[in-house]
């Protein structure tokens, strides 16, 4: 079991309130991702759940029991740190065994669990090495191994992939998702990378300045962002947000339209503009087009390869059903 509830939890450092009171429920077995720009309080929130920081007010409930005053060691949570935080003076085997040793499990049981975890994470050949002799990806696996042997109520991941290179990151992302499908244990995952959030989460919590902007499944956030912050944060490349007359025509203060929901044509369209930089990815082509609709260039995605010269005249048409409207406070208009 691993249901986690936050009741009016807040955190202040001195006079600065980093997390105003918030409520959040994470159901047992869910993969929840906290996402937001750096400094939005997502790591602090995770540390409050872990017990590494004390809450200033409010309650943390784990499986319905008040854990607010419970020491981190006793919360039955396992954490994977961004820096891996392996014990440098211990072999991989001892690193993975450490939580079991602390739990005073008998030797045979320890060995069995270590062997199982090592097999799952492809670490069997490295058990006698020191962390210093491992690559970044292997270290991360050891950190995960150390977390899974305990069979905790929930896993907490604090930006676990940000120290890895891009290729490895994609691989580890899949491994962690795979692990979740297999273990079905609650996972809370903190990242600033919205692609990680979109690809891994059952539920995304978008945070900004310590406040929850929106909670929902990746598709809900993509299709119906609650406000302009979420609209701009979720989706890659970023949604085009347009203020002024073009928005007023649709009865909104701001309209938002994603790059993939704008059609580009050489002959006709609603907005006219000139092509700036184009980015060719092979699978897609992104054009940055300066139009009369907005002072900033709009990003447009064309599927597949498409060649347009720098400075070429083009016409853009947003797909009406996929235009998001926001009021003067930045909130979504249905």
């Amino acid at each position: 079991m691993g249901q986690i509830q936050l009741h009016q939890v807040s955190k202040s450092f001195g006079a600065t309130e980093v997390i105003p009171p918030l409520d959040l429920t994470i159901e047992d077995g869910e993969f929840v991702v906290f996402v937001g720009p750096s400094g939005c309080g997502k790591s602090t929130l995770l540390r409050l759940i872990a017990g590494l920081e004390d809450v200033s007010a409010g309650q943390v409930l784990i499986d319905g029991l008040d854990a607010t005053k419970v020491a981190p060691a006793k919360r039955r949570l396992a954490m994977v740190f961004q820096s891996y935080a392996l014990y440098p003076h211990m072999s991989v085997r001892k690193n993975i065994a450490f939580p079991l040793r602390m739990a005073k499990l008998d030797k045979a049981d320890q060995e069995e669990r270590i062997a199982k975890a090592a097999a799952v994470l492809n670490l069997t050949d490295y058990l006698d090495r020191r962390p210093g002799q491992l690559s970044g990806g292997q270290r991360q696996r050891v950190a995960i191994g150390r977390a899974i042997v305990r069979e905790p109520a929930a896993f907490l991941f604090d930006e676990p992939l940000s120290n890895l290179d891009a290729a490895l990151r994609v691989g580890m992302r899949l491994e962690i998702s795979e692990l979740h499908k297999r273990l079905k244990t609650t996972m809370i995952y903190v990242t600033h990378d919205q692609v990680e959030a979109m690809t891994m989460a059952d539920k995304i919590v978008v945070l900004n300045s310590g406040m929850i902007e929106q909670v929902g499944s990746p598709l809900e956030l993509y299709l119906r962002p609650r406000n302009t912050f979420v609209a701009g944060f979720i989706g890659s490349p970023m949604m085009n947000l347009i203020d002024g007359p073009e928005a007023e025509k649709l009865g909104a203060a701001t309209i938002g339209v994603r790059p993939e929901h704008i059609d580009i044509s050489k002959t006709e369209g609603i907005w006219t503009g000139t092509v700036g930089v184009s980015e060719h990815l092979g699978s897609d082509t992104f054009f940055h087009v300066l139009t009369d609709a907005a002072p900033e260039p709009l990003t447009v995605r064309a599927a597949g390869e498409m060649a347009l010269d720098y400075g070429a005249r083009v016409h853009l048409t947003p797909r009406p059903a996929q235009v998001h409207r926001f009021d003067a406070n930045g909130l979504r208009i249905e």
Partner: protein, 276 residues
């Protein structure tokens, strides 16, 4: 890119460096040479000293006249004792300042360092009186306490720097893994801090071993360490260069040997954290 250095420059630099090194080392070398010369030869001109016959007589005379082993024992007890006493206080102090700092931590560290800026002789009189009152004069316990207090700021500072180098993440990981505070210190912090602790111990043993001001002023016969043993061969009994040299060699040899065998550890400890 490596800086280009001409070979002529290299030679000049090397000669100058060796020259300076020799200049610094020379007094110690001269003491060693004098200790193997007869008392009469020791006060002659350098050339005559070098050509004079070699002898071991100074060592046997010094050994016969004073109780070297007692002074040696006192030095060992005082230097190691004060260091251990210091560690008992410094480890928790450095721990709390490194891992649970308060707003005043920096000020406290600076204040402790500032005590080293006071000339020792400034507090000699009050400490001497306190020692008389407490019956600590000429006792090993008294010297251990004073030397511990003298070196405590350095011990705390060194340990503080080493503890600071240990990533908090790792200690937090131990906490998440179910370790109690005791287990966290025992199984995670201490093994990681051992190189730093070792060099702290070494440096402080050396400092305490060589300390002369307090050891000379607060001892007479019973608790006198090797520094007092050297001093006993200077002016009051006339200048016996050769015997004074022999006594000095006997006093500095143990610590020199200790330093020689642990130099790798010392350098590693002292430059710990200097790179990355």
């Amino acid at each position: 890119m490596a800086r280009a250095v001409t070979s002529r420059r290299k030679i000049i630099n090397t000669v100058v460096a060796w020259g300076i090194g020799f200049l610094i080392f020379f007094p110690i070398l001269w003491i060693v040479i004098l200790s193997f010369k007869a008392e009469g030869d020791a006060i002659r001109t350098p050339i005559e000293v070098l050509t004079a016959p070699w002898t071991f007589e100074n060592y046997s005379i010094v050994q016969a006249r004073s109780n070297y082993s007692m002074h040696f024992f006192n030095s060992v007890v005082i230097s190691f004792g004060s260091t251990i006493l210091g560690l008992i206080i410094a480890v928790p102090a450095a721990w709390s300042m490194a891992f649970v700092p308060s707003r005043r931590t920096k000020d406290i560290l600076m204040w402790m360092l500032s005590t080293k800026m006071l000339p020792a002789v400034g507090v000699l009189y009050p400490i001497y009186l306190m020692f008389i009152q407490l019956g600590l004069l000429d006792t090993r316990t008294g010297l251990m306490i004073v030397l511990m207090l003298i070196n405590l700021p350095i011990i705390i500072w060194m340990l503080f720097t080493y503890f600071k180098e240990i990533p908090v993440d790792i200690l937090e990981a131990a906490r998440m893994d179910g370790a109690s505070l005791r287990e966290e210190i025992l199984y995670v912090l201490t093994p990681m801090a051992i190189p730093g602790m070792a060099s702290t111990v070494l440096l402080n043993v050396i400092l305490a071993w060589n300390e002369a001001f307090w050891t000379l002023n607060l001892t007479a016969a019973n608790a006198a360490p090797l520094t007092a043993f050297i001093a006993s061969y200077s002016s009051p009994e006339g200048l016996f260069y050769a015997k004074l040299s022999a006594a000095s060699v006997m006093a500095i040899a143990p610590i020199l040997i200790l330093g020689w065998f642990s130099q790798k550890q010392l350098v590693r400890g002292l430059t710990f954290g200097a790179v990355k």
